[in-house]
Amino acid sequence: MRWLLLLLGCWWLTACQPQQPMPMQSAPTALTIEVAPTSGVGVDLPIRLYVAPDWNGRVTLTLQTSYAVHVQTVSIQQGLGTLLLTKPWNEQRGDVSIVARVDQLHASATTTLQPSAVVEPIRPLVGARSIIANGATWSMVVVIPHDQFGNPIADASLVNITAQRPNQQRTRLTAKTAHLLAWQRLYSQTVAGKTLISAQSQGRFGPQAELLEVAGWPVQLSVQLAQPLPRLSADGYTFIPIQTNLIQDAFGNVVPDGTSVVFEVDDGLGQKRSINSVTIRGIAETQILSPNQATRFTIQARIFRITSAPLVLDIPPDGATDFLVQAVVATDVISVTVGPIVGSLQQYVPDGTMALLQVNGPIRLEQTTDVVAGYLQTTIRRSLLPSGRYLLTCWVGDRQSNQVFIIP
C-alpha cells in the first residue's frame, strides 16, 4: 500500500512539473486560403491554408454551408495546412463560405458545391387534387428533381411532364427547374374522370400522380315522377316517388355520386316541404308523403342555387264516404265512437289516420285521436264538462261529421 502511494505521489509530482518552453517563433503575417471555386456534392474538397512566414500552429476554420455552420481547427506545419471537406459537410449544394482565423489575421474564400446527377424517384406533386372539367380551371404540377443527397438539381434542368386525360388523350408539358423546382399549370379538359400524371428528368422516372377532373355545376335540372303511373290519392298515407333527370354539367359530365339535391314541395295548402336526397349515377330520388286532402303539389329540385323547373301534380281526393259520430253520456265518462271511417275502396282508412275531435258548448275542448281499425274510440271525463248542450264535431282529412249530446 505504501509503495502504491509513493508511486502515485511520484507520478503526480512529475505531472505537475512545468512544461518545456516552446521554441520562440515569429508571429504570422499573412493568411491565405486556396480552394477550388466549384466542386460537386459528395466529392472530398481540399482546402489549403498558407500562413507566412513558415508558421507552425493551429488555425480556426469556419465553414458556413447551406446546411449549417461548421468550425474546425487546422494544424499548420511549416506555413501549410490542408483540410479535406468531407461528408457530411459536402453533401448540401450551394455556396460554402470559408473563414480562417489566427491571432489577428483572417482570410475568407467561397466555393460552390454543385448538385450531382438527378436520381429517382421523380415524384410529381399535384394540387388542387380535383378540378372542374370545364377547360378553364387548372391544377399545378410541381416536381422537385433531386440528386442522391436530396439536393434539388441545377436550375434550368429539363423536366418532362406527361398527363393522360380521362378521354385517353395525352398532354405533354416541359418545365425547367428554377428556384429548386419545376412547375407547370395543367388545365382541365371537358371530360370528367381521372387524369394520370408522370414526370421524368434526365432519363429518370417516378410514380404517377392523380388529378380528378370532375363535373361542374349542373345545367337543365328537372323533376319527374319516378314511376310512369303512380297512384295519386289524398290519403295521407302513401308515398309518391319522385326523381330528377340525369344531372349533367354543361359538357355532359354526370355529377358525382353523393351530390346533395334538395326537393322542395309547395303542397298548395300553404305548407312547404324540404326533402334531402343525393345523386346516384346522376339521378336523385325521393318519395313524398301524400296529403290527407285533395290539393296540387308543386315540386322543384335544387342543387345549391341551381333550381329545376317545377313539376305540378294534382292529388285527387281518396273518394271516401261520410262517417257516423256517436256520443254516449255515462256516469263518469262520455264514450265517443266514430266510424266506420272508410276510403275510396270502402276499406278502413289506415291505422293512425289522425282525427280531430272538437267539443263546443258551455266550454270548448279539442283533442286529436288516432283511427284504429276504421273506428275512432275515446272517452271524455264528465268531470271536465259542466252541464249543458254540446256539439261534438269530428274531422278526418277534409271530411267532418257532427253529433249533439247533453250533460244533465
Partner: protein, 1081 residues
C-alpha cells in the same frame, strides 16, 4: 442526563392481539377481494403511486390536466405503494399498505385510549376500531388511504406526547416529533387538525393532571376559603405544578410545527406560490342533512353508525371523567360534522366552510369516541349498566342487550364495508387493456384523450398509459381555467354538475384543437348527442364496450410539453424527506423492540450523559423560589372541598332498588309491545303516504327513471292498460334524445282537483340531456279503483307504415388512402385531399348579450367534408381577442354541393363569472359564460377547413307541412319531421337560416327533436322565431379564410328560399335544413 434503562415485560393485551388479527381477517379479506376498486379515491392514490414508481424524483406528471405537480399532495402513502409496487404490482401494494395502515391504526387506538380510559377499555377500543363503521366507510367506501395511514401514526404519537409532558423524558419528545413527521408525510391535514383536536386535549390532560397533582415537597394545607392572604401562594402553588408541562409544551410546539412544515416543505412552497384559486367544488358534507338525506346517510349516519344509540352515555362518560378535554374536542367535532344542517359550522369556520370537506370532522369525532365506547363495553359487561340491566330487567334482557349491541355494531360495520355493493357509486369495472392498446396503436398517444362515464376508474386507466388527458381526478391540481373556474371535479362525470359541468365539457369538445384533444372514450351514452353535434364521430367500439369518438383535423401534441419547474433541492427533498420521515417514524415507534439491544451494543461508544439543554440548574433555582412563594399560612388548613359540584349531586341521586322478577317480566313485555307498536305505526304511515295521487305520479316516473317497469306498469289503470308485454313493447320503441339520453331531473305535480274517483293533475317532467333541458308537460286524469289511484295509459303510436319492405339505393364511401403496412411515415399519396369550401356570407351579431358569428358554408368539392369553422375576433390593432368554433349550430358533415348555416357562439371560460357558478348547481340551458375581452372588437375572420369524411352522411330526414303560425303574438314555425330513410333517426336536428332583404344570413337558429323518428314515420315540431329586432349587427361582413381555389365556381344564380316570412318578423325568408344522429350507424 444519564441513560437509564429498565426493560419491562408488559403482557400484551389479549383484546389488542385479537383486534390485530381481526384487522387482517375482516379488512384484509375485503381488500384482497377487491372491494377497494369500487371506492372513490383508491385509484387516485394508485395513480400517484404509479408516478413515483415510474419517476421517483420527478415532481411533474403530464398525464392529467395537461400536466400537474405531484408536490400538491403529501406523498408518504403513495410512495410506499410505489416502492412496494415495483416488487409486487400496484394493486397488491395498495392492499398491503392499507392493511399495514389499519394495523398501525389499531395499535395506535389502543395506546391512545389508555391515556383516557382503563387498560381493559383500551383493549375494547382496539377491538371496536376494527369494526368501526367510520373506518369501514373510510377504507371500503371512500378509499382514503392517507387518512388511515397518517391517523395511525398520529394516535401512536400522542402517548409519547403525554409522557413527555408529564415525565419530561427527551426520548419521548424525539419519538413524538419523528412520529409527527411520519404523520405529515402521510397526510399533512391530519397533523394540522390533529394538533388541535387530538394533541390539544392530551396537552390539556397533562396540564390538568399536573394542576391537580400536589408536588412531593408541597405543603398539604388546603384553605377552605380564598382570601387576600392566601390567594397569591395558592396561585403560585398551582403554577409551580403546571410550570414543567407548560415549559415542555413550549418546547414540543415548535418541533410539531417543524415536522408539519419541513417534511412537505415543497408542498407549502407550492401552495404559497401557486395558491388554489378555484371555485369550490360542492361537497354533500356541507349540505343540510335534513334537506339532503342521502348526504346525511353517507356523511353522518354511516360514520357514527350504531354509536348514535349510545351517544348520551358517551357524552356522559366523557364529561364526567378525566376524559373531559377529549369530550370537549368531540363536541366541537360533532358540531362541525353536521355540515349545513345547523348554521354553527359555517359560523365557526367562516370562509373555510366552502373549502373543507366536513365529513372529516365526523370521522375524527368517531375516532375520539372509540375509547369511550370501550368504557361502554366495560360498563355493559361488569359495570353500572350491566348491574342496572340485571337488576331492573333480569339477566336474560341483559344478555340479549349485549348480544344485540354486538350484532348491531358488527352488522353496521359489515353493511358499511359493503355499502358500495348495495349502492353503486361507480360504473361496472372497465378493462383498461383495449383502451391502452388503442392509445398505443398508430401513435394515438400523440393526441390527448378524454374519458367519459368512467367514474374513479379513470385514474386506474390513466395509470396504465403515458398518454395525456385534459381531465384528471385530483381537482386541487387543476390549472386550466375551463376547469378551475367551475365546480366540476372531473369532466368525466360532467353530467353530475349541471350547467357548469356540461358547460365546461362543451368547451373542450367545441374547441378540441386548443388542447390537441382528439379521442374520447365514452362509457356513458348520455354524452353521445353532445359529442355528435359538436362534430365528433364514432370510430369503433372496443372489446370492453367503450365507444371511441374522434374529432378530425386536430394537430398532434408538440414534442416538448410545458412544465412548471421547481428548484432541484425541492425535488430531492420530495423524494427523500417524506420516506425518511416514515422510516424514522417506524423506527421511533418500534424503538422499544430494538432500542435496548442497540443501546447495549453501542454502550462502550456512547458518552455517559448527553447535555441536550442544560436547564436543570436554572429550573431548580426558579422552582425553589416558587416553592417559597407558595407557602400558605398555617391557619388556613381545612378539609378539602370538592369543586365539581355536579359530580357530588350526581352521586347523591337516589339509587333504584332491584326489581322483582314479576316487574322485570312486565317491563320486558312492555318494551316488546312498544317496539312492535312503533313498527306497525311506521309501516302504516309509509304506505299511506305513498298512496296519494301526487305520490302515485311521482312513484310512476321514479319507476320509469330507474327502469322498474313492472312497478310502473302496476300504477296504470287496470281497466285500460295493455298487457304487460304490450306495455314493454310500446316502451321499447320510444327513443330519442329524451327517452334514450335524458336523465330525469325533476317531476312537478300540480293537483287541479277532481271528485272522489277522478283527479286531474298537471305533470311537468324535466329531463336533462347533454344538449339541453326538456320540460315535458302533460295533463293526466287519475282514477281511483279499490282505494288506489291509477294513472291513465299513455297514448301510443298506432300508425302503420305504408310499405312493408323498403328498397333504397344509397351511396357509401371508404377512405383508405393507399396505406401500406409500414412503420415509416405516411406518404403524400396516402393523405386525403382537403375539400374545397366557400363561406357564402358571415356576420358578427349579438343576441341577448351573446356575441356570435352567423353565416353559411358551401362544400364546393366532390367529396364529403368534415367541417371545422372557427371565428376569430380582432381589435383595431389586429390583435386576436379570442377564437371559438361552431359547435352544435352547424352540420359538421357536408355532402358535395351541400350548404350548412353556422353560428359560432363566443363564450368566456365556462363558469368564469364566480357569481354565476356559485349558484349554478342546477342545469340551466340558457346559461352561458359571457365573453370578457381586453379591448373592443374591430373586425373578425371566419376560418373554415375540412377533411374528407365518409361518416355520418345519412340524409334520410326531411321536413314537411312547414308553415308559419302566430300564437299569443309569438310567431313560430310549425313543421313535421319525417324519416324517409331506412334507419331510425335517433336525434333529428333542424337548422333554420334566416335571411335579410339583401339575401345575407341575419340569424341562425336550431332545434333538437326530442323523440326519435322511425323510418316512414313523422313527428311534429314547433320552433319559435327570434325577431330580427333582437339581433344586433356588430359587423356586417368579415374576412374569410377557406381552402378554395376557384371562387368563381359558385353559380351566380339567385338564392332560393324555402319559406318567405312576413315583414313583422324582420326577416325576408327562412331556409330549413335537417340532419340527424343515427345511433345504429
Amino acid at each position: 442526563m444519564r441513560y437509564k434503562y429498565m426493560q419491562r415485560r408488559v403482557p400484551i393485551n389479549p383484546y389488542l392481539l385479537t383486534a390485530l388479527m381481526l384487522v387482517i381477517a375482516f379488512h384484509g379479506i375485503l381488500l384482497v377481494s377487491g372491494n377497494f376498486k369500487r371506492t372513490y379515491d383508491a385509484y387516485v392514490h394508485i395513480f400517484f403511486a404509479d408516478h413515483y414508481r415510474r419517476t421517483w424524483f420527478d415532481h411533474w406528471d403530464y398525464r392529467w390536466y395537461t400536466g400537474f405537480p405531484l408536490i400538491s399532495y403529501p406523498p408518504g402513502s403513495q410512495q410506499s405503494i410505489g416502492l412496494l409496487g415495483r416488487a409486487i404490482g400496484l394493486l397488491p401494494a395498495f392492499v398491503v399498505v392499507q392493511i399495514a395502515a389499519l394495523l398501525n391504526l389499531t395499535l395506535g387506538m389502543y395506546r391512545f385510549a389508555k391515556l383516557w380510559v382503563s387498560e381493559e377499555a383500551a383493549g375494547y377500543a382496539a377491538l371496536l376500531i376494527v369494526f368501526s363503521s367510520s373506518i369501514c366507510e373510510t377504507v371500503h367506501v371512500f378509499g382514503q388511504l392517507p387518512t388511515t395511514f397518517s391517523l395511525g401514526f398520529l394516535l401512536n404519537t400522542l402517548p409519547f406526547v403525554k409522557r413527555w409532558l408529564s415525565e419530561g423524558d427527551w426520548r419521548d419528545l424525539i419519538r413524538a416529533w419523528l412520529l409527527h413527521a411520519a404523520t405529515t408525510a402521510g397526510h399533512h391535514v391530519t397533523t394540522l387538525f390533529g394538533a388541535v383536536f387530538f394533541a390539544g386535549p392530551v396537552i390539556l390532560l397533562a396540564l390538568v393532571e399536573a394542576f391537580r397533582q400536589p408536588k412531593a415537597d408541597e405543603a398539604m394545607l388546603h384553605p377552605a376559603r380564598i382570601r387576600r392572604s392566601n390567594i397569591r401562594p395558592l396561585m403560585v402553588r398551582r403554577f409551580r405544578r403546571i410550570a414543567p408541562p407548560l415549559i415542555r409544551t413550549v418546547i414540543y410546539g415548535p418541533g410539531l410545527i417543524a415536522a408539519l412544515v419541513l417534511v412537505v416543505l415543497p408542498y407549502w412552497l407550492w401552495s404559497s406560490s401557486d395558491p388554489i384559486s378555484q371555485v369550490p367544488i360542492p361537497h354533500a358534507s356541507r349540505d343540510s342533512f335534513l334537506e339532503n338525506p342521502n348526504a346525511g346517510i353517507v356523511f353522518w349516519l354511516l360514520p357514527y353508525g350504531s354509536t348514535l344509540l349510545v351517544l348520551p352515555y358517551l357524552f356522559y362518560k366523557g364529561f364526567f371523567s378525566r376524559a373531559w378535554p377529549m369530550a370537549l374536542s368531540i363536541s366541537l367535532l360533532f358540531l362541525l360534522g353536521t355540515g349545513g344542517t345547523t348554521p354553527i359550522p359555517k359560523a365557526l369556520l367562516g370562509g373555510a366552510f366552502d373549502i373543507l370537506t366536513l365529513d372529516r370532522f365526523t370521522f375524527w369525532a368517531t375516532i375520539l369516541f372509540t375509547p369511550l365506547l370501550g368504557e361502554f363495553v366495560v360498563s355493559m359487561r361488569r359495570g353500572n349498566l350491566a348491574r342496572y340491566l340485571r337488576e331492573q330487567f333480569g339477566r336474560t334482557m341483559w344478555r340479549t342487550t349485549q348480544g344485540c349491541c354486538v350484532l348491531i355494531y358488527v352488522g353496521v360495520a359489515v353493511f358499511t364495508a359493503n355499502f358500495t355493493q348495495f349502492r353503486r357509486f361507480q360504473p361496472d369495472p372497465i378493462d383498461p387493456a383495449p383502451l391502452v392498446a388503442f392509445l398505443e396503436k398508430d401513435e394515438h398517444w400523440r393526441w390527448r384523450y378524454l374519458m367519459l362515464g368512467f367514474g374513479d376508474q379513470m385514474a386506474w386507466v390513466s395509470a396504465q398509459t403515458t398518454a395525456t388527458t385534459v381531465d384528471g381526478n385530483y381537482h386541487s391540481a387543476r390549472r386550466l381555467p375551463e376547469l378551475t373556474t367551475t365546480p366540476v371535479e372531473r369532466l368525466e362525470g360532467a353530467k353530475f354538475r349541471g350547467i357548469p359541468g356540461i358547460g365546461s365539457l362543451q368547451q373542450f369538445l367545441a374547441v378540441p384543437d386548443k388542447y390537441n384533444l382528439k379521442y374520447v372514450f365514452s362509457n356513458d351514452q348520455f354524452y353521445d348527442p353532445l359529442l355528435y353535434f359538436s362534430g365528433w364521430h364514432r370510430v369503433q367500439r372496443l372489446e370492453n364496450g367503450l365507444v371511441v369518438w374522434e374529432r378530425e383535423d386536430i394537430p398532434p401534441l408538440p414534442e416538448i410539453l410545458p412544465r412548471r419547474e421547481i428548484p432541484w433541492f425541492q425535488r430531492i427533498m420530495w423524494g427523500i424527506v417524506p420516506p425518511s420521515a416514515l422510516f424514522l417514524g417506524i423506527l421511533a415507534l418500534t424503538a422499544s423492540l430494538w432500542g435496548p439491544r442497540v443501546r447495549r451494543m453501542l454502550r462502550p461508544f456512547l458518552p455517559q450523559s448527553i447535555p441536550i439543554i442544560p436547564y436543570h440548574r436554572w429550573w431548580n433555582g426558579v422552582d425553589q423560589r416558587l416553592k417559597r412563594w407558595s407557602v400558605v399560612p398555617m391557619t388556613n388548613d381545612q378539609q378539602r372541598t370538592r369543586w365539581q359540584i355536579w359530580r357530588t349531586l350526581w352521586q347523591k341521586r337516589p339509587r333504584l332498588k332491584p326489581a322483582p322478577p314479576s316487574a322485570q317480566a312486565v317491563r320486558n313485555g312492555l318494551i316488546g309491545l312498544i317496539i312492535l307498536g312503533s313498527s306497525i305505526v311506521l309501516w302504516r304511515y309509509s304506505t299511506q303516504s305513498q298512496q296519494s295521487p301526487e305520490a302515485v305520479v311521482l312513484a310512476y316516473y321514479d319507476d320509469l327513471d330507474f327502469r322498474r317497469f313492472a312497478a310502473a306498469y302496476a300504477r296504470l289503470d287496470p281497466q285500460t292498460r295493455p298487457s304487460y308485454d304490450q306495455y314493454l313493447l310500446e316502451l321499447s320503441v320510444q327513443g330519442g334524445l329524451v327517452a334514450s339520453y335524458g336523465k330525469l331531473d325533476a317531476v312537478i305535480v300540480e293537483d287541479l282537483g277532481g271528485d272522489a274517483t277522478t283527479r286531474i293533475v298537471d305533470v311537468e317532467t324535466r329531463w336533462v340531456t347533454a344538449l339541453n333541458e326538456y320540460p315535458i308537460k302533460e295533463r293526466l286524469i287519475l282514477v281511483q279503483r279499490d282505494g288506489q289511484w291509477y294513472l291513465p295509459t299513455a297514448k301510443v303510436d298506432v300508425r302503420v307504415p305504408p310499405d312493408t319492405f323498403i328498397r333504397q339505393a344509397a351511396i357509401d364511401w371508404f377512405a383508405a388512402g393507399r396505406r401500406r403496412v409500414t412503420t415509416t411515415i405516411t406518404s403524400f399519396a396516402d393523405v386525403q385531399d382537403r375539400p374545397e369550401l366557400a363561406v357564402l356570407s358571415s356576420r358578427l351579431v349579438s343576441y341577448q348579450g351573446r356575441t356570435s358569428i352567423v353565416g353559411e358554408v358551401l362544400n364546393l368539392d366532390v367529396d364529403p367534408a368534415d367541417l371545422t369553422v372557427t371565428g376569430i375576433l380582432f381589435d383595431s390593432d389586429d390583435r386576436e381577442l379570442t377564437r371559438y368554433n361552431a359547435q352544435s349550430v352547424i352540420n359538421h358533415k357536408l355532402l358535395p354541393k351541400e350548404v350548412t348555416p353556422f353560428r359560432i357562439d363566443f363564450e368566456g371560460v365556462a363558469g368564469a363569472v364566480l357569481s354565476d357558478t356559485l349558484t349554478a348547481g342546477e342545469f340551466d340551458p340558457n346559461a352561458f359564460s359571457p365573453l370578457t375581452l381586453a379591448s373592443p372588437i374591430d373586425h373578425f375572420t371566419v376560418y373554415a377547413k375540412a377533411v374528407v369524411t365518409n361518416r355520418d352522411l345519412n340524409r334520410g330526414l326531411a321536413v314537411q307541412d312547414i308553415e308559419l303560425r302566430v300564437d299569443d303574438e309569438q310567431p313560430h314555425i310549425q313543421l313535421t319531421a319525417i324519416n324517409n330513410g331506412t334507419e331510425e333517426a335517433t336525434i333529428p336536428h333542424i337548422l333554420l337560416t334566416y335571411y335579410d332583404a339583401h339575401g345575407d344570413v341575419a340569424w341562425v337558429d336550431h332545434a333538437f327533436v326530442a323523440s326519435s323518428i322511425r323510418p316512414q314515420r313523422t313527428t311534429a315540431v314547433s320552433i319559435p322565431i327570434i325577431p330580427a329586432t333582437a339581433i344586433h349587427v356588430i359587423q356586417p361582413d368579415g374576412d374569410l379564410v377557406v381552402n378554395a381555389l376557384v371562387e368563381a365556381a359558385i353559380p351566380p344564380a339567385e338564392p332560393g328560399y324555402l319559406l318567405n316570412l312576413p315583414a313583422t318578423t324582420g326577416y325576408t325568408a327562412v331556409r330549413i335544413s335537417i340532419h340527424g344522429y343515427f345511433a345504429e350507424n
